[in-house]
């Protein structure tokens, strides 16, 4: 089963798309995520969570490698999502892997924070 029905986000500054199948989902963000798209990203992550939970997807990959910047409002959307997954029964949790770009300096610091916040479910790859 391929997940292609979920509409992504696309505007002048950011593009977010989801793809995957029953073995895993990837969410790719490209551009700059700031206040103008925080509600859209929050909603997108809610739908991702619903999809992963309902379809019993074992892991979700978040690809930040082309994300130039993310402000705290959008960062909070990820914090909320991780908090939701952390709060599930262990059998219902899924793993979240972040793909980060070492050349984008804010990512090193922010990814460390996300990993420490949800160490049981988050891994980071550079």
């Amino acid at each position: 089963m391929m997940f292609t029905d979920m509409a992504g986000i696309k505007n002048n500054d950011i593009q977010v798309e989801l793809f995957g199948d029953g073995s895993g989902i990837t969410v790719r963000l490209e551009g700059s995520a700031d206040t103008r798209v925080k509600d859209a990203i929050h909603g997108f992550l809610q739908k991702t969570h619903s999809l992963a939970s309902e379809q019993h997807i074992p892991h979700v990959t978040i690809d930040f490698r082309r994300l130039e910047f993310m402000n705290s409002a959008c960062f909070k959307a990820f914090v909320t999502w991780l908090g939701t997954v952390k709060g599930l029964d262990e059998g219902s949790q899924y793993r979240i892997r972040f793909l980060a770009n070492d050349k984008i300096h804010w990512q090193r610091r922010s990814m460390r924070a996300l990993r420490c916040f949800a160490a049981s479910i988050v891994s980071i790859e550079n």
């Binding site: 700059s32 910047f69 909070k76 908090g83 804010w106 610091r109 922010s110």
Partner: protein, 167 residues
């Protein structure tokens, strides 16, 4: 210092110190962030320029969001061995009080990263950001925060010890 009502964007530059006033358009915040990172990337190491840019974005986000009136002043420069960024805007009394509570709480913690994790935990189930941006400035950008209030004008300053690198 009064905030003057002037042109949509007014910039004063002196070497690597600049001051500008922007309108309350959210898309201007990203424009100024990129400008800060580009300009200060020429005199700072890339990591420090990135921290300064992140701080600029977070401070301006807050200022634009909570400002009364139509203008936010942003000032960046070196002074007394510190790299400082200031925002200044008019704000409502309850918003000024909220910022004061956040900064005072932050200053009561000794470990910025532990404070940041506590904030993340606290705000993960809430709809508002509730200080996460200020916590990020301290924990991720290594900048200390202070504020000053004069009547209804609030100034927030983020600073870090800095020496200029060779260009």
């Amino acid at each position: 210092m009064a905030i003057e009502q002037t042109k949509p964007v007014e910039v004063v530059m002196d070497g690597t110190r600049f001051e500008l006033q922007i309108g309350l358009e959210p898309d201007m915040v990203a424009v100024v962030r990129r400008f800060v990172e580009s300009l200060y990337g020429r005199v700072l190491d890339p990591e420090s320029a990135s921290k300064l840019a992140l701080t600029a974005h977070e401070l301006m986000d807050n200022a634009v969001r909570y400002a009364c009136g139509d203008r936010v002043l942003v000032r960046v420069g070196f002074g007394d061995g510190l790299l400082e960024i200031h925002t200044q805007n008019r704000a409502a009394p309850n918003d000024i009080a909220s910022i004061r509570v956040l900064i005072e709480e932050m200053n009561s913690w000794s470990d910025p990263f532990q404070y940041y994790l506590e904030l993340m935990d606290r705000t993960s189930s809430r709809l508002d950001s509730s200080g996460l941006g200020l916590g990020r400035i301290w924990a991720e950008a290594d900048m200390t925060l202070t504020m000053d209030v004069e009547a209804d004008i609030v100034s927030v300053c983020a600073a870090m010890p800095m020496t200029r690198s060779a260009a």
